[in-house]
């Protein structure tokens, strides 16, 4: 089963890699999203990540399971961090291992794109002048038809 977590603890890339190992795999891919020192021309000193944690855990688990189908293996591990992060720190780690590289790249890319589309997480960028702003995001779409009955 794929692994996923929403955490306030620093992400340890080495642990993510170590969690994937299998002798069946010929390709291991680790993606780290890290806090950049600039955004749209402004100097950034850090980012505050906030989540609807209970829902984010559920969505991230679903994304990881969908990625595992793409990877053809259950060896998918996804961690998203919350709280105050400094420049250079990883906010997200995505590990995928697969017998073949095409599937590993596809599954890894799928996870980060889905996170950006539907994980209920927001970030407030802190700028060098002391100001802070919520970053523009993407409106998530409800799957249609909804799981429960509708009034329409």
């Amino acid at each position: 089963m794929a692994h996923s977590a929403i955490t306030h603890d620093p992400i340890e890339p080495t642990e993510v890699l170590a969690s994937l190992g299998s002798d069946e795999d010929g390709a291991v891919l680790l993606f780290l999203g890290t806090v950049r020192n600039h955004a749209e021309g402004r100097d950034v000193t850090g980012i505050l990540y906030e989540a609807y944690q209970e829902m984010a855990e559920k969505e991230l688990a679903a994304i990881a399971e969908e990625a595992a189908v793409r990877a053809g293996t259950p060896r998918v591990a996804v961690i998203h961090r919350l709280g105050e992060l400094a420049v250079g720190e990883p906010s997200v780690a995505i590990g995928v291992a697969s017998p073949h590289r095409a599937e590993a790249y596809d599954a890894s890319r799928f996870v980060i794109e889905e996170i950006k589309k539907r994980l209920p997480v927001w970030k407030k960028e802190r700028f060098v002048d002391g100001s802070a702003d919520w970053t523009d995001g993407t409106r998530p779409q409800a799957a249609a038809p909804p799981a429960r009955e509708s009034a329409s």
């Binding site: 998203h80 009955e149 009034a151």
Partner: protein, 79 residues
């Protein structure tokens, strides 16, 4: 019926609160709740925000039930 409404990020700042209990009539939908919030507690909420009902994204047409938790979800920016 009672609906627990929760706000995040920019919507929390618009609403000035993190959560709000709203009393609605039976048959109310997500859309009913949003209209109510826009006319009372949170006039600057967009007309058609993304919403989750009990941790699942939902359409404005979804029927609500007593005790539901409805989250108002600003555009997401994880990763």
């Amino acid at each position: 019926m009672k609906i627990q409404t929760v706000f995040f990020a920019t919507y929390r700042e618009l609403a000035g609160v993190g959560s709000l209990e709203v009393e609605l009539d039976e048959g109310a939908t997500v859309g009913t709740l949003i209209d109510r919030l826009r006319s009372e507690a949170c006039p600057s909420l967009p007309e058609d925000p993304a919403v989750a009902v009990n941790l699942t994204y939902a359409l404005a047409s979804e029927l609500l039930h007593d005790g539901d938790e409805v989250a108002l979800i600003p555009p997401v920016a994880g990763g």
